[in-house]
């Protein structure tokens, strides 16, 4: 059975930002104070219900405590940096995975499929000489250019991926060493932003691949340069689905105070 003290604490919990250290401390101190005050009033002869009401009345309105339980701007900023770091590192790691996929596509379908130029692209003689110097076995300027571009796609993306992995490792290390860090952003924030960003990237990159495929068909050429956006689009789509599943797992279904009021 809930009493006036439970109702007061429920209101405090419902109006303050839950989860932070300040919130837990304010709630614990308020409850300890109210229970001790009510016990003192009962010892003075009050019945249990009246003592609880009087203790709440003496404690005063909930607003000053709600304001006190609110996390500071520093805590919000630190948590936002944490979330941005995680999102950025995950994004870079996904770019790295798309580099690996581009490398696999290159092995299977060739460099022209991954990063070949579209119709109408030409190079100067000097530039062609550069490409052929690096890829003497390519046989033609356009084939050497495609090999050069494909290698760049793979190398830069994999480097971004390594950077992302380092970022994720740093994030894990930071999370373990800073046990007192307050999480004030809802747990669903990072996966929700990631899902939205990856979905946007997937749509843009897959549409770009489709555009290249249809454009090249019109001109009757082999599908050139599709592998680059396609690899990014596929990885983005998979990442969007995984992030979406995390969102579904983390969406809060029941709040502690909703549970409490249900049980009351």
């Amino acid at each position: 059975m809930s009493d006036a003290i439970d109702d007061y604490l429920d209101e405090l919990a419902g109006r303050a930002h839950p989860g932070g250290a300040r919130f837990r401390r304010v709630l614990a101190e308020a409850e300890e104070h109210l229970r001790e005050s009510a016990a003192s009033l009962r010892r003075a002869g009050m019945d249990e219900g009246s003592a609880a009401c009087e203790a709440v009345s003496r404690f005063g309105p909930v607003e000053p405590l709600v304001a006190e339980a609110r996390p500071s701007a520093t805590v919000w900023a630190a948590d936002a940096v944490r979330a941005a770091w995680l999102l950025g590192s995950t994004g870079l790691a996904a770019v790295g995975l798309s580099g690996v996929l581009a490398w696999a596509l290159q092995a299977v379908a060739g460099a022209r499929f991954v990063a070949g130029d579209t119709n109408g692209v030409t190079y100067t003689t000097a530039r062609c000489a550069d490409f052929l110097e690096y890829y003497p076995h390519a046989g033609s300027c356009s084939a050497a250019a495609a090999l050069h571009h494909a290698d760049e796609v793979v190398m830069y993306r994999v480097l971004a991926g390594v950077l992302g992995l380092v970022g994720l490792l740093a994030y894990l290390w930071w999370g373990r060493s800073r046990t007192g860090h307050q999480r004030v952003l809802p747990a669903v924030t990072v996966p929700a932003v990631a899902a939205a960003a990856f979905l946007l990237a997937a749509v843009a990159l897959l549409l770009s691949s489709l555009g290249l495929a249809l454009g090249e068909r019109v001109h009757g050429e082999a599908w050139s340069g599709i592998g680059s956006p396609l690899s990014g689009g596929v990885v983005s789509l998979v990442a969007a689905v995984l992030a979406g599943l995390l969102v579904l797992r983390r969406v809060p279904r029941r709040t502690p105070w909703a549970e409490a009021s249900r049980g009351a």
Binding site: R22, R25, V26, A28, E29, A30, E31, E32, H33, R35, E36, S37, A39, R58, F59, G60, P61, V62, P64, L65, A67, E68
Partner: protein
């Protein structure tokens, strides 16, 4: 004392009062407010919940420190003065002595030479 005016007056000096109350030893929030009421014989009274934001503010300012300690039914946060808190209390006492002397002089009609 008028309740609203008395509460506002008490709030205006709350930091100094809390430092002075904790000068007699570590105390939890309920104990602090009970002692405030006892020492002032009920004259200084304010909503009890307002003492916690003030205690937290003084702790963030480095004038108090606190730790969890076992209570009668559950753990409680116990506050005590830091070295900076003792210094601040000394300054508050000095300032209050000057202020009350000045106000007393005016209210009693004693003119300074």
């Amino acid at each position: 004392m008028d309740t609203v005016a008395g509460t506002e007056r008490t709030k205006g000096h709350l930091d100094a009062l809390l430092l002075a109350l904790l000068a007699s030893g570590p105390q939890h929030g309920y104990g602090v407010i009970a002692e405030l009421r006892d020492r002032s014989e009920g004259e200084l009274d304010l909503p009890e919940g307002t003492v916690y934001p003030a205690l937290h503010r003084l702790e963030r300012a480095g004038l108090l420190e606190s730790t969890w300690a076992p209570g009668t039914t559950r753990r409680r946060r116990v506050y005590s003065l830091t070295a900076a808190g003792w210094t601040a209390l000394s300054a508050e006492r000095h300032e209050w002595a000057r202020f009350s002397t000045a106000v007393g002089s005016v209210l009693s009609g004693v003119a300074s030479a």
